[in-house]
């Protein structure tokens, strides 16, 4: 099973840091308050370990899902623990008193969460471009709140010949002294993962897969 070696993981960590920095600036400007992001973990995970990483198959999560295309095709999933959702929406909409919808969130809050997922995704993908010259564009975000395994089930089956590996960047968001966790997962389709690893290797002048 292909993986990233030490140098490549370091490069991924840098991608995470740069992306997190840009996302923090963007989010701070957007909300008019100080928001800090720091990368707490980067790794490559086999897809059958993802549910555990998210807190267990039946842990409740909110997930923003975006199709990605370009040099790498596949899906990006950005996960937030469901019990931090209200803190996240308060961070994004500091002066707004929402009117809850049937599932507890107003349309504006759901839209804000989709945008949060989009912003984080855009930040990491453009950092990837900067570091390893891989251009990945993202499409329309979708928000789903449910059990981790149910979301993964539904998503993995849509990826034709998925690569069985996910690139993971876990980030802490800090605003108003509250800490929230986001987990960014890039799930590439067949062939794309190899392209990604080759790009890491080329940039760092190292031979192929680790």
């Amino acid at each position: 099973m292909p993986s990233l070696n030490e140098f490549q993981l370091d490069a991924l960590r840098e991608v995470g840091n740069v992306g997190a920095g840009n996302a923090a600036t963007a989010l701070s400007q957007l909300t008019g308050q100080r928001i800090d992001l720091s990368v707490s973990k980067v790794c490559v995970l086999p897809t059958d370990a993802i549910a555990e990483f998210l807190g267990g198959s039946d842990s409740n999560v909110a997930s923003v899902c975006l199709p990605v295309y370009g040099d790498v095709t596949g899906l990006v999933l950005v996960f937030f623990p469901l019990d931090q959702i209200n803190e996240l929406t308060r961070m994004l909409l500091p002066n707004f008193t929402p009117v809850p919808g049937p599932d507890g969130l107003s349309d504006i809050e759901k839209s804000a969460l989709r945008e949060l997922g989009s912003i984080l995704t855009g930040a990491y993908l453009s950092a990837l471009f900067r570091f390893i010259n891989i251009q990945i564009l993202h499409g329309v975000p979708e928000l789903v709140m449910d059990m981790a395994q149910a979301i993964l089930d539904s998503v993995l089956v849509e990826l034709e010949e998925k690569e069985d590996l996910a690139i993971v960047i876990e980030t802490e968001l800090i605003a108003q002294n509250k800490k929230m966790t986001s987990k960014f997962l890039l799930l590439p389709e067949a062939g794309s993962l190899e392209r990604l690893f080759k790009a890491f290797a080329n940039t760092l002048g190292l031979p192929g897969n680790g």
């Binding site: 039946d58 599932d103 507890g104 709140m145 149910a150 089930d153 539904s154 998503v155 089956v157």
Partner: protein, 161 residues
Amino acid sequence: MGEKEWAVGIAEVKVASFPDSFVAYGLGSCVGVTLFDPGKKNGGLAHVMLPSSALFTRGFVPGKYADTAIDLLVRELKGLGSDAGQLRAKLVGGANMFKHIVSHPVPIGVRNATAAREKLRNLSIPIVGEDLGGEFGRTIQFSLEDGRIKIKKLNQPEFWL
């Protein structure tokens, strides 16, 4: 010998006898197919991901596909001493959680449910209960005492099928 609750993960098929039971966590577009023999209190659960083995591309796992998973389930239950004519089926899952990232005009959850129903019909196994479709994932516990299934969805009270 203590009773065991068997977790059935994606693409897995498991059978057992009472007082054992089964659990499947987070069925999204997957369909949980249960077969129960009320006389001998044998039963099994298949966690099906795709509708047909004709779609298999690499690394064939029978539990992944509705047709081969159900065949395997029946075979294993016969191994426990059950007669195919005594089996009753229930189907849970097949949700459609995403609207935009779908790659096929018919949502995979619907295709899985249709495939499971068709296979069971071909085997003349009656379907005595269903909780399919919708937009939410389900966690299910399947009891071999009476073949009932406890279903839990996000933010909703549990109920029995």
